[in-house]
Amino acid sequence: MTIDQKSSQADQGELEAEVPSSGSSFDPGSAAAGAPSVEIVRTRRRRRADSVWNDFFRKPATVTFLILLVAMVLLSTLGPLFAGDPVATDHPTLTPPSAEYPLGTDQLGRDYLARVLFGGRISLLVGFTVAFLCMTLGLIVGGLAGFFGGIVDAVLVKVAEFFQVIPGIVLALVAAALLGSNFVIIVTILALTMWPGVARIVRAETMRVTQLGYVESARAAGFSSLRILWSDVIPNAMPPVIVATTMTVGRAILVESGLAFLGIGDANRPSWGALLNSAQAYMAAGWWLALFPGLCIFIVVLSVNMLGDSLNDSLNPTIGRVK
């Protein structure tokens, strides 16, 4: 492993040590023995997966942050159904949080709780959609690049290098400003600037897995390349990819909030970042306006990052070893 490879992994902040060799206990010899041994292997793999999830869910940090995240997701998805109208201005203006208005009201007399709940919808939807798109694109391009090498690989390396050097937010800012800024455009731009991060990890893992014995046996058994990639390589390359995708949710929410804070986003459906943008002018008069949306972003991103971290620990147990 070269130093640059190491640092590019460290870049993601999570892949601290060697990636786990999940499934490498597979003995190529037993594959040739026929169908019964395949059954054995399958149960063995399932048992390993069980232990990973057991390990993951048994940690107090996981439980805490999973509850926090689920709570925030439920509040943002179901909350707006029960909260009042986020644009109705028939409340008193700039009232601090009270029993009647748990998060106060804003300068136009809108119920801030409703606004924050509706804002969460947008922020979370952006975060999860972008992460999903990044994972999909990353798996396709990174998988093909790592498995086949050649021109796809060369192009991917260059593109990844490009986005490693040029901060994506600057490009996103320009693109969003020039192309207009509705939900679809924002999500597309964020996904386009963030997918190489995931693709790089997919590529590295795919390259590693491709050299393992069971891929060779699959080739010897005469399976087509795409079939091997789909059923052997990608599943075994998934652990670090899942971690990276989790982290992407947090990063996407952060970048979106930054763009929205600068006034780039759907003005009719303000996300948490957009709420902060309008709150800046009223910081002295209404502290709650700037506090709550930011706190929501913080809680969600922290939960996502913590879950990604502990997922990484469970999937990569080698890190736990202390010399």
Partner: protein, 326 residues
Amino acid sequence: MRSAVLHYAKLLLSSVVLLLVVITILFLLLELAPGDPVQTLVGDIPVSDAFRAQITASFGLDKPLLERYLIYVGNVFTGNLGFSFGTDEPVIDLIFSRIGNTLALALPAFVISTTGAIILGSIAARTRKRWLDGLISGTAVAIFSIPNFWLGLMLIMLFSITLGWLPTQGKSSYGQSGIQLQYLILPVLTLASSELAFKTRIMRSSMIEALGGDYIDTARSKGLSPRRVLWQHGLPNALLPMVTVAGYSLGFIFAGSVLVERVFGWPGMGLLFIDAIERQNNMVVLGVVIVITVTILIVNILTDVVYGLVDPRLRARFARPVRSVA
């Protein structure tokens, strides 16, 4: 020696290619953007087609796309970034009048976050799995999860509005020129925070890896104090990945300063950028992105040079590319 020259020539070439790609992407985005610049200039007054054609020709907009692109690229490489829409000031002058203010934020933030991360990350690695490590690592993740600009807002609320210790906006009090220290504190802290957190995590893992090396066992068995083992034997090796990360981080500090300058009303390049975007002053937008890109590329090359200097192993086998593909 020749391979070293070849290596840096390649690096320079790939940097120029990267810059070209950035310019091309931006140029195409501008072409894709809705709106007609000539119409904007003319306004709502009805004009004859001949007059419209005259304006179009005076800006060279009647030429084909490829020709305009080549002219623009040629101008960029000779230091001409065009003129600001409305005021007709050269974009390059506008940027140079602001870049000093941005550097006044970015450089201290860079120094604080890098040195802080080296110290905190090493301590966390040394006290691994104990409370101090837990505190440092936990705080790092937390700070990394805070939206940078919101942290700035909260700091303003606490230190400026509630306590009244520090000013809220600008770089100096009214009528004063230059930069005053008390105006610098909050923006620099805000800008440094997330980079500090990020680099601390990197430093911690790279130090843990360095401390796992055999030479650490040797140093310990020689009877060296744990402190000397950490700082004299562990640190130099743990610093290597940090060089790359620090190089990249300068780019992200530049990008982050856009948000921070907006929060603190800091008249730097970022604020110029935001103003330009809001007023659709496209030449300025392009110019700022190009200047940021060039700065980042130069830092990148410097990083590579430093890398070669601090790691003798890389100097010895220069035939292999230092920046090997990931």
